[in-house]
């Protein structure tokens, strides 16, 4: 029997290079080099991506436009967060090389999740991603907050994957298969029964934990606040996007015949998520925690794309996640620059008068805050616009109205940061920003991209539409 491994080439490259990096790290004294090698490895994997289209292992592994779009998103996420980390992990005194290898392995897990054509592969990808991220969240071993973040993330993550497995078991017993497309075919002719509904709910709960949908978001604020800021940026984008990739594939292909049943649950979760994320963000004084609630809220918006379903809904969701990745990592990059030796820089009050002391950093933060609110001409507006457009086209106009109301509420806490930066006098000792060429590059890329996508979005929209098929 001939096995076609062509679709897996980028994953194989990632796995081999991540393990090589782990070995190489023993001999390289300067850990910055490991970071740069990590970026180089990702570029090699990305180079082989266009030739990877196809199916492997009897449809268990699918490389199509949908998965390739997500994989590029994961690569952007990885490259940007590595750029953020290079200086930051020195400040946190955890400058170890395995940090970069873990990020690569986590990204590999996400890639496998996006390509999963079978629930077994999905589970393996999910665990590879999650286990690496648990370690990264607790990477500052001497900091109790980091330990606590890792513990909370780990306990709820392991709990949710057990629920996922129980859902897989029930669907396996009911349909006799674990292939996502085969499940869809088997369900198309059968009737709806309680076992099926229970398994759909179990999968929804488990993936809801991964993308932090309310009421399964409890881990997110603590894990995001306590984890190293660079890891927070990484895990607020990557695992969430991977969760969405799995959600889109499993629910639209596998549970397609049950759309009427699960879309009701998902609508409730979406409204609840937007409410919880936006309203609880208002009272936060720690900017990482505020951004954590904001990322919960953004998952609520992106889920609307899955509810709207079809190529239109999927492409709007993918487009939203792409834009969210840029603006969220950008915002965390600014948060990281405020952290310096002996200064946390996580309180909102630290931003007072930033426009006087550091006008460029304040202006960049302004762009990201506007974009997260969804104010034109930034990318955040385009992302929300197409999500709402897809919702209206699918007959969920009221849901779009609810989402708009919640984005208005979100303006309060995003623009409060802007108000602190521009309308308050600096207080206390003058801030010193810890800048490095790498973080400067990351800030440049994210700012420019947020503005370009905001002003001229058509190529990006077309890319997402082609990818969604």
């Amino acid at each position: 029997m001939e096995i076609n491994i062509q679709p897996l080439v980028p994953e194989i490259i990632m796995a081999v290079l991540a393990l090589l990096l782990l070995l190489l790290e023993l001999f390289v004294r300067r850990k910055e080099t490991v970071g740069l090698l990590c970026i180089a490895s990702v570029t090699v994997a990305a180079y082989y991506m266009p030739q990877s289209f196809g199916k492997a292992f009897g449809g268990m592994f699918i490389s199509d436009g949908y998965s390739v779009f997500f994989k590029f998103l994961f690569f952007i996420n990885l490259i940007l967060t590595v750029l953020l980390s290079i200086r930051y992990i020195v400040i946190e005194r955890v400058n170890h090389g395995e940090y970069y290898a873990l990020m690569m392995l986590s990204t590999l897990g996400m890639m496998i999740m996006a390509s999963a054509g079978d629930l077994i592969v999905l589970y393996l990808g999910l665990e590879l991603m999650a286990l690496s991220t648990y370690i990264l969240a607790g990477f500052i071993r001497h900091d109790i907050r980091s330990n606590e973040a890792a513990l909370k993330y780990f306990l709820l993550g392991a709990f949710s994957s057990a629920i996922l497995l129980y859902g897989i078991t029930m669907i396996y017993g009911r349909t006799g298969t674990t292939g996502i497309a085969l499940i869809g075919a088997a369900l198309a002719e059968g009737t709806v029964d309680p076992v099926l509904l229970l398994s759909v709910t179990a999968l929804l709960v488990a993936l809801g934990f991964k993308i932090a949908l309310a009421p399964f978001h409890m881990w997110a604020p603590d894990a995001y606040e306590g984890a190293p800021t660079s890891v927070t940026a990484f895990m607020s984008v990557g695992p969430k996007a991977a969760g969405f990739a799995a959600l889109g594939r499993v629910f639209l292909t596998g549970f397609g015949p049950l759309t009427g049943e699960w879309s009701v649950i998902l609508i409730v979760l979406s409204v609840l998520t937007m409410a919880v994320g936006n309203i609880l963000a208002i009272q936060q004084q720690n900017i990482k925690r505020m951004l954590a609630y904001s990322s919960v809220a953004h998952a609520g918006y992106a889920v609307i794309g899955v509810i709207a379903a079809g190529a239109e809904g999927l492409s709007s969701m993918m487009n939203y996640l792409f834009i969210y990745a840029l603006m969220n990592i950008g915002a965390f990059a600014v948060v990281i620059t405020l952290r310096s030796e002996g200064f946390q820089g996580e309180s909102l009050h630290d931003y007072k008068g930033l426009s006087r002391t550091h006008p460029v950093a304040a202006a960049v933060m302004l762009v990201f805050m506007f974009s997260l609110t969804g104010i034109p001409p930034t990318a955040g507006f385009i992302g929300k616009f197409y999500i709402f457009k897809a919702a209206v086209a699918a007959g969920y106009a009221w849901l779009a109205v609810v989402a708009v109301v919640f984005s208005v509420i979100s303006a309060f806490f995003y623009l409060r940061v802007v108000m602190y930066m521009y309308m308050h006098e600096p207080e206390g000792e003058p801030l010193t920003l810890s800048l490095s060429p790498a973080i400067g590059l990351a800030l440049l890329i994210t700012t420019v991209m947020v503005l370009i996508v905001g002003i001229y979005p058509s190529p990006f929209l077309a890319f997402a539409r082609i990818a969604a098929g």
Partner: protein, 100 residues
């Protein structure tokens, strides 16, 4: 021969015990054990289903679950040890540095 639904009931009861333990116990080690129970409940159901349907997929998944559970336990215990070094407790109600 033992009917299939006996195994499925056993699996679901073991899973439910694990879930109950996870939600009610406050010691991290017990919570880890509860997660293992949940996974083994899943394993019982999968092996039974796989055997009765004469299909190997279920058993393959069981192997993967066992391997991943081992990795998960290793990482979970490592996190608990790292936490214990900074704050000598394994009780989740005392690990509340962050709130809100």
């Amino acid at each position: 021969m033992v009917p299939l639904h006996w195994y499925l009931w056993l699996g679901s009861v073991v899973f439910a015990i694990g879930m109950f333990g996870f939600l009610t116990k406050r010691n991290v080690i017990i919570m880890l054990l509860s997660i293992e129970l949940m996974l083994n409940g899943v394993n019982i159901s999968l092996v039974a289903l796989s055997h009765y349907m004469q299909d190997l997929r279920g058993q393959i998944l069981v192997f993967f679950i066992i391997v991943v559970a081992a990795a998960e336990a290793a990482i979970g215990l490592a996190i608990v040890i790292a936490l214990f070094r900074n704050k000598a407790t394994a009780h989740v109600d005392e690990i509340t540095g962050m709130k809100g």
